[in-house]
Every structure is written in C-alpha cells, then in structure tokens.
Amino acid sequence: MDYTDAIIWYLSWPVLIYVAYRFVWLNIRHHARMEKLTALEEHVGDTWQEQDPLLQENPDEEK
C-alpha cells in the first residue's frame, strides 16, 4: 500500500488550521480598521478625511 496520498492529506489538516488562523487575523485587522473609520465618521461627520492631516496629499502645505 502506498501511503503518500494519505500522508499528504493528513498534513493538510495543520496547514488548514494555520491558513484559517492567518485568514481570520487578516480579516479581523481589516474589520478593526473599518470599525475605527465608522467611529470617526460618527464623531466627526463625513468631513473627517479633510481634517486628518495624514490623509491630505500635501499635509505640510495644509499647515
């Protein structure tokens, strides 16, 4: 009996868990950013982008 297929398939289990963890991490970070943006919009209104110097094309000029 050739065990190659079985070994490859069994090894896919920890790989799946690791990839799933990285995928969750990626999405949760993105979601956290979205949460912050939503919170900013709620507190400052939709003009917050104009008020944030980091989001200006030339922040020095704005000053």
Binding site: A6, I17, F23, V24, N27, H31
Partner: protein, 513 residues
C-alpha cells in the same frame, strides 16, 4: 453463531443509530468550537486586548456545556460495542479496538487534562501556558476524532488484517495500512471540517441573534468576522474532501454511490442529480423511472467519481445482477462463493477437532480462495445487498445542498462584516440564525449517508449487521432503547436550556476583566 432474532437486529441497530445520532449532535460543535476559541485566545495573547479575553471566555463557556454532554453519549456508544455487538467485537475487536484504545489513552486524556487548565486556569497559569492548553484541547479533541474515524474508515474498507481460522477472528497485520487507509483519511478530514463548518454556523447564528436584538454589537460583529473567515476557508476545504470521499466510495463501495444518486441503470457519462424526487413505486429490476422529477447535470457523476466525463458508473441493477461487459460479479455469485468460504471454515473446525491435518490444510486453502466473499455467504438473498435507496439519496442530497448554501452564506456574511454593512442587512442576519439548526441537519444527513448507505454491512463485504449482534433476547434491547431515548432527549433539552440561558445573559456576565 446461533440463530438471531431479526427483531433483535433491528432493535440493536435502532439503539446504536439513536446513540450515534445524538452523539453527533454534540461532537462536531466541540471539534470546531475548540479551534475558534483557540484562535480568539491567540488574538488576545498577541494583542493583549482584554476585550478578546472576554470574547474567548464567553464562547469557551458554551463549549464547556457542549463538551460535558457529548462525553456522556460517547461513553455509552463505546459500551454498546460490547453489550449489543459482541459478535462484531469478537470477530474484529483486535483491529477495531486498537484505534479506540489509542483514542482513550492518547487523545482523550490529552484533551480532558488540558480542558481543566483551559476552563479553570484563567489567571492561575501564565497567559502563554493557558493558550497552549487551549490549543492542546483543540488538537486533542480532533485527534480523538481521528482514531474513531480510522476505526470507522476500516469498517467501510477493511485493510491491514488477516483472518485467523483457529480463533475465527481477524487480526491486525499492519497498523500503518489501517491508519493510512484511504477511507480513513478522507473520512477524518471530511468529518472534522464539517464540524468546523457547524461551529462557525453556531458562532454566526448566536452573534446574528445579538445583532438583530441590537445587543453586544461590537462582540457580535467581531465574533462573526472570526467565524465567517474560519467558516469560509473550512467549507471550501470540506468541498475538496467531499470530492475525494466520493471518489473513494466509487472504488470501495459502488453500491453506496449508486444509492446516493438513485442510479439503477449504470452507464458511461452518468449524470448527477442536483435535485430530485424519487418514485416511491420503483422496485428493483422493474423498468419504472426511479424519479418523479429531477434536475440533473449531464456526465456529472462520472466526473465526480472518476474525474472523467465518459467513465462508466455501475447502477444498482448491474451491481446486484452483475455485468460481464464491465467485469462485475453478481451478488448471487458472490453469495455462492461466500457460502463456500463459510462451509470451508466449518470443515476446518471439524478437521481440527478430528486432528486431520491434511483435511485442515485443504479446508484452509478453500477458505483463503473464497474469503474475499465471506460476508456474502451470510446474506439470504441478493436483494439484501441493496441499502435503503430513498434514505441514502435524500440524506446525501440534503447534505450537499446545505453544504453549498453554507459556502455562499459564509462568503456573504464575511463580505458584509468586513465592509461593516452587516447590521443594515437584516435578511442576512436572519439567514445566519436560521442556518444554525440547518448546520445540525447537514451533520446528521452526512452521517446517515455514510452509515445507511453501506447497509447491510457492519464491515464492508465481510460481516453483515445481522451476524454482528449479541445473542440477546429482544426485550432488554427494547427497554434500553427507550431508556436511552429518554435520557438523551433530556440531555439535549438540558444543553439547549443551559446554552440559551447563557446566550441570553450574554458576554457581559462573563466580564471578569
């Protein structure tokens, strides 16, 4: 083996099916929720954000309730092998017992030990040791499943053993053949990934309910992102393992595949039924159309089973009556050969008692020649080799249909969650809530497909269920069936009530931070 009352066989089967179906309500959630909790705790340790600790502890509480009740049903099932299936345990205990013993010694001890640390060890052990314990619980519970499914895979496709005519038992000759049995790894991966799907649906369902009630908004949204991300990946993996499992079934259990698809007449380029209603008047060997209605994909079954559009897939008629063209032996011929094996075994015993070594040698040679058909020697008629087609067909199609819906659901929910639009899409939240019970339906349907589809065999082609039971009177089996039915239902009601109460309280009461 003496005469066994057919009603005893039916009651023993009913009791085992009842225990397995109830057990399978609790187990898949444990398999998946342990990993979801471990991922949440990893985020907590990595970010040191105490909010993630609160989230982890809430889901861990629900996991603990489920774990405890799942344990009770699992232990009863293991005892039933001895009480109700002692012939089975005698004939294959040497092989079947090994993975079960490893499960008890290695995996179960591991998960139980670290479960205590995981549940009671908050603030008593270091953060990292606690996280390690949580991951070990997740790995341990899944390793438990591995050994159980190695045993189950062996029943579907027995390998790595040799029949000992002196003891009338099968003995293991290669542990690695049993562990690396294609049926074992496909079953393991497909089963655990379906458990991950259920756990993801569970987290999404509960969190969606919070969002619909406008409660625990941040907690629910973040939990949904974790569960939908995890669910989407594992459900896609589940799809690939399902495909691999179907190809394995086509090779090892063609009758199960034919029943899964309601395929009576085999053909090259066989279609796959996406949706269909079986004709209840269809009988074996008549020319009635097996379907009242169907939507089919041409050549789909050939592609699924052999990865070739023109591959020949045998139907139930060919598998029962044989086909010279496709080199398929009829069940009647297999029964004839099986009876020769049974007779040769009996002759071997007689010769052994008489001390006639030459006769023993001859009987053994005959037995070895026909032993591949041994199980068929115990069938009463060829029709007995056909599993219940309607149950297998509907269970399989329910599983596949729901599995496809879950992939779509995970994708939609994840997209809505990461773009922070989930609260506005109330229909999607309702779909999340409704899909929670559907997850359980899919789990049970999968298990029914696997087990009903391989009837009449306790061990494929080797031991029919009728020969596997203990020689008991029917009444104690009937009595314990009803006792277990009441007990398991009470446990299920208790679990649902405790969980519902915890969910209604919400994560706030778990906020010890």
């Amino acid at each position: 083996m003496g005469h066994i009352d057919p009603s005893l066989v039916d009651w023993s089967r009913a009791q085992f099916a009842l225990t397995a179906l109830y057990h399978w309500i609790f187990v898949p959630l444990t398999l998946g929720l342990t990993f979801i909790v471990a991922i949440m705790e990893t985020i907590y340790v990595k970010t040191s954000d105490e909010w993630w600790k609160k989230t982890t502890r809430f889901w861990m509480g629900l996991l603990a309730i489920n774990f405890a009740i799942g344990l009770a049903t699992g232990i009863i099932m293991e005892f039933e092998f001895g009480t109700n299936w002692s012939n089975y345990s005698w004939i294959v205990g040497d092989i079947f017992g090994a993975p079960l013993a490893i499960e008890g010694i290695m995996a179960f001890f591991m998960e139980s030990t670290f479960f205590a640390v995981m549940f009671f060890g908050w603030d008593k052990v270091s953060k990292r040791f606690h996280l390690l314990s949580t991951w070990l619980v997740a790995i341990g519970s899944n390793l438990s499943a591995l050994w159980i499914l190695v045993a189950n895979g062996w029943m579907q496709h027995p390998v790595g053993m040799r029949f000992n005519p002196d003891t009338a038992r099968n003995e293991m000759v290669s542990f690695w053949d049993v562990l690396f049995n294609p049926n074992a790894y496909t079953k393991f991966l497909h089963t655990i990934s379906s458990g991950y799907v259920l756990a993801s649906l569970f987290v999404i369902g509960v969190s969606s309910w919070y969002l619909l009630r406008k409660r625990e908004i941040k907690f629910a949204k973040r939990s949904i992102v974790v569960a939908a991300s995890f669910g989407l990946l594992v459900s896609l993996f589940n799809l690939t393992t399902g495909d691999d499992s179907a190809r394995q079934i086509a090779v090892d259990q063609p009758m199960k595949l034919a029943a899964m698809e309601g395929l009576y007449e085999g053909k090259p380029g066989a279609e796959i039924v996406a949706f269909g209603i079986l004709n209840p008047d269809k009988k074996l060997r008549d020319s009635t159309d097996p379907f009242l209605f169907k939507v089919a994909i041409p050549e789909g079954l050939s592609l699924l089973s052999y990865h070739r559009l023109d591959a020949y897939v045998p139907g139930i008629h060919q598998l029962v009556d044989g086909s010279k063209e496709h080199n398929i032996l009829s069940v009647a011929e297999k029964m004839k050969r099986g009876r020769k094996a049974v007779e040769a075994l009996a002759a071997y015993k007689v010769a052994q008692k008489a001390g006639d070594k030459e006769a023993m040698k001859q009987a053994l040679a005959t037995f070895r020649h026909y032993s591949a058909y041994l199980g068929y020697g115990y069938l009463k008629n060829p029709e007995q080799a056909v599993p219940p087609v309607a149950t297998t067909f509907y269970a399989f199609h329910t599983m596949v249909g729901l599995g496809t819906w879950f992939i779509l659901l995970f994708f939609l929910i994840l997209y809505a969650a990461i773009t922070d639009r989930l609260q506005k899409l109330r229909w999607l939240l309702w779909a999340g809530v409704i899909s929670l019970p559907l997850g359980y339906v899919a789990q049970e349907a999968g298990w029914i497909t696997a087990e009903v589809g391989r009837q009449p065999w306790a061990i494929q082609d080797m031991l029919p269920v009728g020969m596997a039971t203990s020689n008991l009177s029917t009444s104690p089996v009937m009595l314990t069936f009803w006792l277990f039915a009441i007990l398991f239902t009470a446990l299920l009601i208790a679990e649902v009530k405790i969980m519902t109460a915890q969910i209604k309280i919400g994560p706030k009461e778990h906020d010890h931070v």
